[in-house]
Assembly symmetry: C2
Homo-oligomer: 119 residues x 2
Amino acid sequence: MEKYKLFDAEYKFASIIWDNEPVNSTELVRLCAGKLGWKKSTTYTVLKKLSERGILQNKEAVVTALVKREDVQKYQSNAVVEKSFDGSLPKFLTAFLGERKITEQEAKELKQIIEEAVK
Amino acid sequence: MEKYKLFDAEYKFASIIWDNEPVNSTELVRLCAGKLGWKKSTTYTVLKKLSERGILQNKEAVVTALVKREDVQKYQSNAVVEKSFDGSLPKFLTAFLGERKITEQEAKELKQIIEEAVK
DNA sequence: CCTTTAAGTTTATCGCGATAAACCTCGTCT
DNA sequence: AGACGAGGTTTATCGCGATAAACTTAAAGG
């Protein structure tokens, strides 16, 4: 879904909402000022845009998300693998791990996630 | 390495070089025209910029890469995981797989890559 | 009433990535 | 000599994402 594509600033913004929803809009302005250094107008501008795109919602000063963080993350992860790794997860994994070493414990966790997907 | 950060257009461009190096610069102009729809000047402009950044090299009309595709991919994969998944590979994998199902064969390949990294 | 503050919209500004136009130098071919 | 193509640089243009200034409206409180 193209709908889930968020730009960097938008994603950071949405993250704050996911972490705090439901959140009052004025409170959100305060949060964004603190965490992103944004002015009030910036917060409202971005909020409005994302609302128009059906990502967020602002009803009577109560802001909530209409799409799940997981769905956006899913889109993002797919997009990178698609764009830079020919859509190949193995290629991605190989690149990511590189010479980096992981512990037995971490490996176990990863393998479990993979098992889960084999169904 | 911050040096490995390539923008979208730059990455596509570099990919063409990785796929064809060493490549004559005029030939590269032809390739970019075909694959990216670029004008000659665009190719040279980007080529020069990436050369100044030590990513590529253009010596006597012969273009080669100074950094490995793998290193750039490694940077990119790390960047996404960092930016959108708190640096957690498991989180990334979970998001990527979602409800998607993979075959036994694919799972085996992935697990092998993981094994490789356990050292 | 008058001020203050919450809540929100409309309309810029600005930097930068993406792309190209225009121009230049040299060698070679006719 | 003049044309032509290879090889390349310098200097725009342009769209867009990021951010904000300025203004508005409405409710609350003294």
